[in-house]
Amino acid sequence: MTTLADVAPGVAAAIEARDVRRVYRLDGVDVDALRGVSLRIEEGEYVAITGPSGSGKSTLMHLLGCLDRPTSGSLLVGGRDIARLGDADLAQVRNEEIGFVFQSFQLLARTSALDNVALPLVYRGIGRGERRRRAKEALEAVRLGHRLGHRPTQLSGGEQQRVAIARALVGEPRVLLADEPTGNLDTVNGDEVMTILERLNGERGVAVVLVTHEAEVAARARRLIRIRDGLVVEDTIVAHGAAVRS
């Protein structure tokens, strides 16, 4: 297996997982969702994760995004071991280092696109005016500068996911994690979302990790990680990176 770590050793990874295990306890029965995963996500990388349903992709994404803690093994974000962080510090890592995009958008229904995007900055203690300015910028970056006051219900699925991407982006994170971002979208909208992710990765250098079931989506990434039964079974650099193409 060839990874960027082999190509450029010594550079601190954006996120690094070392022998990460995650065991869910369900009605007294242990479910091994991840059974020892080690991987490095480098700064500025564009990675696709695929694998069959139930293989542990979402579990891995939650761990990479510090939404969850591993049962064993360690996770380093920007070189910092998150096992040592308390609730408040972990929240800060989520807020500042990670941008998360969900399959089901997860926008606040009664809130405008602008305020949805500004939400992460609320927890950074940034004033309202500055928040809105940055949120507007982020929305413009996903070509939604004309939809600032719209509520999620007044937006198409593709537009909603772009709002969610703007929200993930507004805090200028190290890594953008997207768990099946096109899963709820048709081909046209899905394509647009992918294009935006690629452009952001190319222009801003934010690392993108996305989970997908679709072969075409996976094919556009520069690195492909395949997961099966809670283990990484393949991790390859794809020569014809799609991000370059756009």
Binding site: H62, G65, L67, D68, D87, A88, A91, Q92, R94, N95, E96, F100, F102, Q106, L108, R110, L119, P120, V122, Y123, R124, G125, R167, G171
Partner: protein, 394 residues
């Protein structure tokens, strides 16, 4: 997240569920309004009694036989008419001493009658108590010295027996004995629906003969200044104890009466407020319940906020502020309602009301405390939610 931001978010979420918020507040509104109204009624009663007692006159000392206490009957009096002179020597002024005998009796004029409080008194009464005369004159020293059968009528008695007429100079019978009306007292009004004007005053000497008693029930003395009240009380009790060995006498001052009645009324007010407080408590339980429902409903929102960087503390604080906002707004509305109801009760019913400055303040503080107390459990539950689990619920 700064507190102002939390307040804004809390306000928005309450506004989003306006009807529910209002219904939740109703318990708190009713509780606070009830506390304010009942305390106002208690306060009104207290201040009315105070006005009553102070309106009697100033620096008055009552000397009664036995021990003055609520719960024990007054002792049978062995005080004599001549003890007025004894008291006058102690005080140094005969004009500042009087004595009384009281009995409820039928007062008649022709076919009309009235059951009045008949008081045997002396001519010095207007000097000691506030008892202004509307028509005619008060009893004279000669009336008292000779035991003349003359009477000063209370305003109610006068209007009942002599409707639309001038009673002065007219005859009445008291307990079957003829008296001549020499004066009518100024109307004093009623306290707690009990008339203060159903009293008639006759010379104490006439009262002794009318009731067939030689003792007088009590003595009343006016101290020249407030700081003389205590020493004079002690001297009077000492002088009487010396004259009647083995007997016990008590000096009762206005402050003592006020203190005793004040304590009873304060306790009553407190009990009423506590009962009203129960509804505030029930309101608090309602708040807690609706907050728990809110946390469950907004689980996904909470999960999202945490995923985006909200700390446990931020989420807990947000829900706590929401609960407190709910009870604080409810408390404020309750205070306005309570003040309005108190004013209406004072204006439209015989119950007097008086709003003490502290009662709205305390009611507000308590409603805020109720919000904190009943908001803490739901708020902590919200703060502890696991973001992954929360995001997956729908």
């Amino acid at each position: 997240m700064n507190p102002l931001e939390s307040l804004r978010v809390a306000g928005e979420s309450l506004a989003a569920n306006r009807l529910r918020s209002l219904l939740t507040m109703i318990g708190v509104i009713i509780g606070v309004a009830a506390v304010v109204v009942l305390v106002a009624i208690g306060g009104g009663a207290k201040s009315m009694v105070e006005n009553e007692v102070e309106g009697l006159g100033s620096n008055i000392i009552l000397i009664v036989p036995g021990k003055f206490a609520f719960g024990t009957a007054p002792s049978l009096s062995r005080l004599q008419y001549s003890d007025i002179d004894l008291a006058a020597r102690v005080v140094g002024s005969p004009d500042d001493v009087t004595a009384s005998i009281t009995s409820g009796e039928e007062v008649r004029s022709g076919p009309l009658d009235f059951f009045a409080t008949v008081q045997g008194l002396t001519q010095t009464v207007p000097q000691i108590f506030n008892r202004p005369i509307a028509q005619g004159a008060y009893l004279t020293k000669a009336d008292v010295d000779t035991g003349a059968r003359v009477v000063v009528l209370g305003a109610d008695v006068a209007s009942a027996l002599f409707p639309g007429e001038d009673p002065v100079g007219r005859p009445v019978t008291i307990a079957g004995v003829r008296f001549r009306v020499v004066g009518v007292a100024v109307r004093r009004g009623s306290a707690f629906g009990v008339s203060q004007d159903s009293q008639v005053d006759i010379p104490i000497t006439a009262a002794q003969r009318l009731f067939g008693v030689s003792a007088v029930q009590d003595l009343a003395v006016k101290a020249p200044t407030p700081d003389r009240i205590k020493p004079l009380s002690d001297q009077l009790v000492a002088a009487l104890s010396a004259k009647y060995p083995g007997e016990r006498f008590s000096a009762v001052t206005q402050d003592q009466i006020l203190g005793t009645i004040g304590r009873i009324l304060s306790l009553l007010t407190l009990v009423l407020a506590a009962i009203a407080g129960i509804s505030l408590l029930v309101g608090g339980v309602g708040v807690s319940n609706i907050m728990l429902v809110g946390v469950r409903e907004r689980t996904r929102e909470i999960g999202l906020r945490k995923a985006l960087g909200a700390r446990q503390r931020d989420v807990t604080l947000q829900f706590l502020i929401e609960a407190v906002l709910l009870t604080a707004v409810g408390g404020a509305i309750g205070i306005l309602l309570g003040v309005a109801i108190s004013a209406a009760v004072g204006a439209l019913s015989p119950l007097p009301t008086q709003i003490a400055w502290w009662s709205p303040a305390v009611a507000f503080a308590v409603s805020v405390a109720v919000g904190v107390f009943f908001g803490v459990v739901p708020a902590r539950r919200a703060g502890r939610l696991d973001p992954v689990v929360a995001l997956r619920t729908d």
